[in-house]
């Protein structure tokens, strides 16, 4: 052994660097892109695909796009790219719909309150979380009053008719209401469906299967065309309220199925343990079964939320103007004809950001609630 090399006790030698052909960018490329003949072909195909699609798409989206301008002609003169000037000009309309100009602070305030209400719901390490949750439960009603207006005790706000609601604000109204009310309703339906009382079980099964068997759009049609027949004569029922009820009922049926899956995964021994402790049905459910069942169902619950949020676009078919509806209405403006792709992509971006954020949050929550049963 050469004398200038340090000697080590057995097992004490520091780790040697990995062989150069196993680390570094070249090794990565060899391992991930060119590991076998099939892989080489696939890489070549994918690269060719990106080469044909990417430059023209990027040019259209950004480099040739027009970001400022008065009308369609400004875009046409500047080049072949997308005409984002249109979106820029209509941005307020996309956000607030036709909400009266001088009352828009109410929408902004509701949005700030919404963000405040979400903090204690989403994160569990905030101070005074208990009170925050009470506030979050009260939020839908506070926001409802803020947006619609009317008298509460001494406070009075001018009434804004709900047909002035529109744009992103309408999406948030329907989405948040649906999410806030479909979860408790879904829990009740799921408990009813797995109840030992046959009549309640049959009723819940019937309700859930009926709602899940028909498309949301037909339910919205029912709400908009024939619901008034079933109400006492002379009742006026706001269209937005009818839509909110239908969307909530629809989402709660799906929610119930997701939660039922969670309930079924809880061993019967847990309920029996509750019985042994002398807990009645509701305390046993609230303290033992539901916390475990809901934890398992989180991915499904968030998926249902995302589905509900995306389904809010369907309201354009019965004449409410969410961002998509506003966009379609704006397309008929002669100043800005033929820009449907820009409008749809803008709305798609809005939905992508919200839904992607929701699904990322669900992953984060799953990781956090994982209590280490995974091997």
């Amino acid at each position: 052994m050469a004398s200038n090399e340090k000697s080590y006790a057995p097992g004490q030698h520091p780790d040697l660097p990995a062989p150069t052909n196993l680390v570094g960018p070249i090794a990565w490329i060899r391992g991930n892109l060119l590991s076998s003949p099939t892989n080489i072909v696939l890489t070549a195909l994918a690269a060719w695909f990106l080469y044909t699609i990417l430059p023209s798409t990027l040019n259209w989206l950004f480099f040739d796009a027009v970001f400022t301008g008065e009308d369609r002609n400004a875009c046409r003169a500047a080049g072949e790219g997308a005409c984002w000037a249109f979106i820029g000009e209509r941005f307020k309309l996309f956000t607030y719909g036709f909400y009266p100009l001088e009352q828009r602070w109410r929408v902004n305030l509701s949005f700030v309150l919404l963000c405040l209400a979400m903090v204690p719901v989403l994160f569990d390490k905030v101070p005074y979380r208990q009170y925050g949750l009470y506030y979050a439960m009260a939020f839908p009603f506070i926001a409802g009053w803020l947006l619609v207006g009317g008298n509460i005790l001494v406070l009075e706000l001018p009434i804004v008719p709900t047909d002035k609601f529109g744009g992103i604000m309408l999406t948030l109204v329907i989405g948040v209401t649906g999410i806030a009310f479909s979860l408790p309703l879904g829990i009740l339906l799921a408990l009813g469906r797995s109840s030992r009382l046959p009549l309640i079980r049959i009723f819940c099964i019937g309700f859930i299967e009926f709602i899940r068997g028909v498309p949301l759009i037909t339910l919205l049609f029912v709400a908009s065309t024939m619901l008034s027949y079933f109400l006492p004569p002379g009742t006026k029922f706001d269209l937005l309220l009818r839509v909110l009820i239908m969307v909530t009922l629809f989402a709660s049926a799906y929610m119930a199925e997701v939660i039922r899956g969670g309930l079924q995964a809880i061993p019967n021994g847990q309920i029996e343990a509750g019985d042994a402790l002398g807990l009645k049905y509701w305390p046993a459910m609230r303290l033992i079964v539901l916390p475990q069942a809901l934890k398992i169902s989180i991915p499904g619950i968030v998926n249902t939320f995302i589905g509900l949020y995306k389904d809010t676009t369907l309201v354009i078919i019965i004449g409410l103007l969410d961002p998509l509806g506003i966009g379609r209405a704006s397309l008929s403006d002669p100043k800005w004809t033929g820009l449907s792709n820009e409008v749809y992509l803008f709305v798609a971006l809005f939905f992508f950001i919200s839904c992607f954020a929701m699904s990322r949050y669900s992953l984060y929550l799953e990781g956090k609630l994982e209590t280490g049963h995974k091997r």
């Binding site: 899940r212 759009i217 049609f221 024939m226």
Partner: protein
């Protein structure tokens, strides 16, 4: 009820009944029934009063009256003089058409996506990931409108149609393709095809039995392929190609002759397929990665080849996990086809629930029909998939 008779020192009869588990359950159910019954009773009574007030009745007579509207795509004979019932049938067929084609295409793209997501190739993997995340997080209605917008805005007018091979023409008024005109001899080929299918089903069972008993292995796939595709194909040419193709021709402002596929159908079909495929892709990926890697190793240890490991070991186990969520995706696709109304494809909702409803003013009857039809579809699809699921699920002792 025994407790009531027993001489127990209870406070009063109400709390005694309420504190007994059995009686309490009965009381709760009776209360629930009364509430639900009262709810429906009030609704029906309101409906009767409201209908009387405006002098309407409930009747299905309107179905036999002429519809007075046109439908652009119809597989059966239909004109504006046909009845509403006929219009409804056209709507049902159109819904079924887009649902069946959509399910087929979504399954193909979905399985491809799932395989790409499992690929070790980084680019392919990430491309599939980007596709799935984009498509899943954007509403399906937006996909439908976007695809429809692209087809209508970017394809040329019939005058400047994109010509494929001199026989097919892509325009913004639809895709014009040659239509087959079947000669009498063609039915021989068709009959051979049917015989081939029946033979293959029988042969598969037989080959399975022989393999179970003796271990002898037939090349089942190639024999079935030959019987179903090969023999009719050869016969087709032996009989001198007994199909005459009618090629579309430009007449005036549009093509005539041949088959036309409307842009609305294509937009709806593609949009529903790419949307549902993203979900199916994730289901397939989850299903295949849920099969324990030890299964692969065990098959390798037994000397089973790579392809047979996939088809005999991995895929059968993965299918058990894939089928239930796949069923709900198929159901979603069928239900999402109702969004056709946004681009003017005449499905159930657009015919009977749309124009017919507006023309006749029979909201109750029309919506009842639409809801019933969708319920029937959902039941059919889910019972079909349940049957398949039962067939392939693990038989436990």
């Amino acid at each position: 009820m025994n407790e009531v008779a027993l001489p127990q020192p209870q406070r009063n009869i109400v709390s005694r009944l309420w504190n007994d588990k059995e009686t309490r359950q009965v009381i709760i159910q009776i209360l629930a029934f009364v509430v639900i019954f009262a709810f429906f009773f009030i609704m029906v009574r309101n409906a009767i009063t409201n209908l009387e007030a405006i002098g309407k009745d409930i009747s299905m007579d309107f179905l036999s009256q002429p519809s007075n509207y046109d439908i652009s795509q119809s597989l059966i004979e239909y004109s504006s003089r046909s009845t509403h019932l006929r219009a409804m049938t056209v709507g049902i067929i159109n819904t079924l058409l887009v649902a069946v084609f959509g399910i087929a295409l979504a399954t193909v793209i979905g399985f491809l996506l799932g395989v790409c997501r499992l690929s070790k190739n980084w680019i392919v993997n990430k491309l599939a990931y980007v596709y799935i995340e984009y498509v899943r997080n954007v509403p399906v209605l937006l996909h439908i409108l976007l695809v429809h917008g692209i087809i209508v805005n970017s394809l040329p007018t019939p005058k400047n149609a994109v010509v494929v091979n001199e026989v097919a023409f892509l325009t913004n008024r639809g895709f014009f393709i040659p239509s087959p005109d079947f000669q009498p001899l063609y039915w021989v080929v068709a009959a051979l095809f049917v015989i081939g299918v029946i033979f293959s089903l029988r042969f598969r069972k037989y080959a399975q039995k022989v393999q179970d008993q003796t271990g002898k292995h037939y090349p089942v796939f190639w024999i079935c392929f030959g019987a179903i595709v090969g023999v009719p194909f050869i016969m087709y040419f032996l009989l001198g190609s007994p199909i005459v193709w009618e090629i579309p021709e430009l007449k005036g402002f549009n093509y005539s002759g041949g088959l036309v596929i409307r842009p609305e159908f294509i937009a709806l079909w593609l949009a529903l397929s790419i949307y549902t495929a993203a979900f199916i892709g994730e289901i397939v990926r989850a299903g295949i990665s849920a099969v324990d890697w030890g299964q692969n190793e065990a098959a390798a240890a037994l000397g089973v080849t790579r392809g047979r490991t996939l088809s005999l070991v991995v895929i059968p186990q993965a299918l058990r996990i894939i089928i239930p969520p796949l069923t709900s995706q198929y159901l979603n696709l069928a239900k999402n086809s109702s969004l056709a109304i946004a681009i003017g494809y005449m499905d159930i909702v657009a015919t009977i629930g749309g124009i017919t409803l507006n023309q006749t003013g029979r909201e109750m009857e029309c919506m009842a029909i639409v809801l019933t039809l969708y319920l029937i579809f959902s039941l059919l699809i889910s019972s079909g998939m349940n049957w398949y699921n039962n067939r392939i699920k693990l038989v436990e002792r």
